[in-house]
């Protein structure tokens, strides 16, 4: 099998037989990490897509997986509330709306840790690409807008591996609400932040909650340095930008 000689010669998706070998770059945990895990053994890439419902996250992820597989990279997908351990219980608890904020944060952290240890880390050790449909940042932002202590939640997620790339798909709230309606005809209780008591009116609450989330994401961006992607453009334009940035990651560039 011929290998690509340089990036310039790299064939575009679907037509090439040569496959780019991703450059292994050092990984680190945000804090103490997971007991007994050597981050040097993780040769795959962890790519995170963050963004509100309606920001085009799922569409972009589906396309990225398609593209990565077409270019010869084994790809694994993870996301929130998908753990074997607590996903059902978490769903139930959310339906009942009975959990306090610390409990809910810890429950989500359990779900995250279960996927981190049983899916993400083994896949990275095997050299796969891991695409995460949201990661610790959404969980942190949700906690923060509900008044959870920032030092506390940072320590909690000290177990997390720092991804190779994080893309935050940003859409302004008034456009987001239009996109949600185009798809669902109704607003979700949690995505409208109704538990915060910002407004009794769901539409109004949605706009205020999403603005709060965006501001908090931007604030976290300054610490965690993720890429803010203008997601008000067409899906094609967004996907091209994501592919370009991911290619740089595969070549070992920051």
């Amino acid at each position: 099998m011929p290998r690509s000689k340089s990036r310039k010669n790299r064939p575009k998706a679907h037509d090439g037989a040569s496959v780019l070998i991703p450059k292994v770059t050092p990984k680190r945990f945000y804090g103490q990490g997971i007991p007994g895990i050597d981050s040097d053994s993780l040769t795959g890439k962890l790519i995170v897509v963050e963004g509100a419902d309606g920001s085009g996250r799922s569409t972009q992820i589906a396309r990225l997986v398609q593209w990565l597989e077409a270019t010869g990279h084994h790809t694994i997908q993870v996301g929130l509330k998908r753990s074997t351990l607590v996903s059902e219980e978490l769903e139930q608890a959310q339906q009942g709306n009975i959990l306090s904020r610390t409990t809910l944060s810890l429950f989500y952290a359990t779900d995250f840790a279960d996927q981190l240890e049983n899916t993400i880390l083994p896949a990275l050790r095997a050299g796969s690409m891991v695409i995460a449909d949201r990661y610790i940042y959404t969980l942190m932002v949700r906690g923060l807008v509900r008044g959870v202590d920032e030092t506390w939640i940072r320590n909690l997620y000290g177990i997390a591996l720092a991804p190779d790339a994080v893309f935050y798909l940003e859409v302004r709230p008034d456009l987001l609400v239009q996109r949600v309606f185009a798809k669902n005809q109704s607003l979700d209780y949690w995505e409208s932040g109704m538990d915060l008591g910002l407004s009794r009116d769901m539409f109004d609450s949605f706009l205020r909650y999403q603005a709060l989330m965006r501001d908090t994401f931007r604030r976290l961006q300054q610490t965690y340095g993720f890429d803010i992607i203008d997601a008000e453009r067409t899906p094609d334009e967004i996907n091209q930008e994501l592919q370009r940035r991911i290619e740089a990651v595969l070549c070992g560039q920051d």
């Binding site: 351990l85 219980e89 409990t103 359990t110 202590d149």
Partner: protein, 229 residues
């Protein structure tokens, strides 16, 4: 530095018991509870690992051995947080005497023995205030072990610390695991000002000491149930 509920200005008081399985702590807190109740005081009792909500996830995780040290720690922290936010704090605000069979120190000891970094575990539980009084029931390790092991019980996987691969024999694993937890308790004893109880004494002797100490630390008269007008 963490503060106690009294220091934080809560009208209620929290009393916790800690110790190994088989140290007799549950017997002692039960007798304390009966004594307080019979005086007509506002008492609430809470056990470790008992939140209904998290229970199904915890038992599934334990049965299927899905838990790692990190998820074991987090799922117990979730359970504790649920009880803390929905029961303990509201009751302490309402001026109750809250009795806890195990508190955050159980997690500090167990999770660290399982390999979680101590600073991380303490950070996770940072939302919880310290008890106003903590009794540590210190029996000789052999005494605690024989109280549990003499009946040759079927030890559960995590109870025996089998997840740590200390020994293929559950009884031997249990001994080593409990020994390590015991060391953690001893190390925390001075740091957190535990009242160290000689758990080799007779039940009545211990209960006498517990009641006298509670009586001298807490103004029990303030915890009378309001009489109906």
């Amino acid at each position: 530095m963490k503060q106690t509920f009294a220091e934080l200005g809560y009208p209620g008081r929290l009393i916790a018991v800690e110790g190994l399985d088989g140290s007799g702590k549950s017997t002692q807190i039960y007798l304390l509870k009966r004594w307080l109740e019979m005086q007509g005081l506002k008492v609430f009792f809470s056990e470790w690992n008992s939140s209904a909500l998290v229970k199904s996830a915890t038992s599934k995780g334990k049965k299927q051995n899905l838990l790692t040290p990190t998820t074991f720690s987090l799922i117990h922290a979730t359970d504790f947080a649920d009880r803390y936010e929905r029961q303990l704090v509201p009751l302490l605000k309402a001026g109750y005497l809250v009795l806890c069979d195990r508190y955050i120190f159980t997690a500090y000891a167990r999770d660290v023995v399982r390999g979680c970094p101590p600073e991380w575990v303490r950070g996770v539980y940072n939302f919880a205030a310290l008890p106003d009084l903590t009794f540590f029931f210190k029996a000789g390790l052999e005494v605690s072990l024989s109280r549990i092991l003499d009946n040759r019980p079927t030890l559960k996987h995590h109870e025996a610390g089998m997840d740590l691969n200390l020994s293929p024999d559950p009884y031997e694993s249990f001994r080593i695991f409990q020994g390590r937890i015991f060391e953690q308790y001893l190390a925390m004893s001075t740091e957190f000002g535990f009242v160290v109880m000689d758990a080799n004494q007779r039940i009545e002797e211990q209960q006498g000491i517990v009641r006298r100490l509670v009586d001298s630390h807490v103004h029990l008269d303030q915890f009378r149930l309001a009489k109906a007008a």
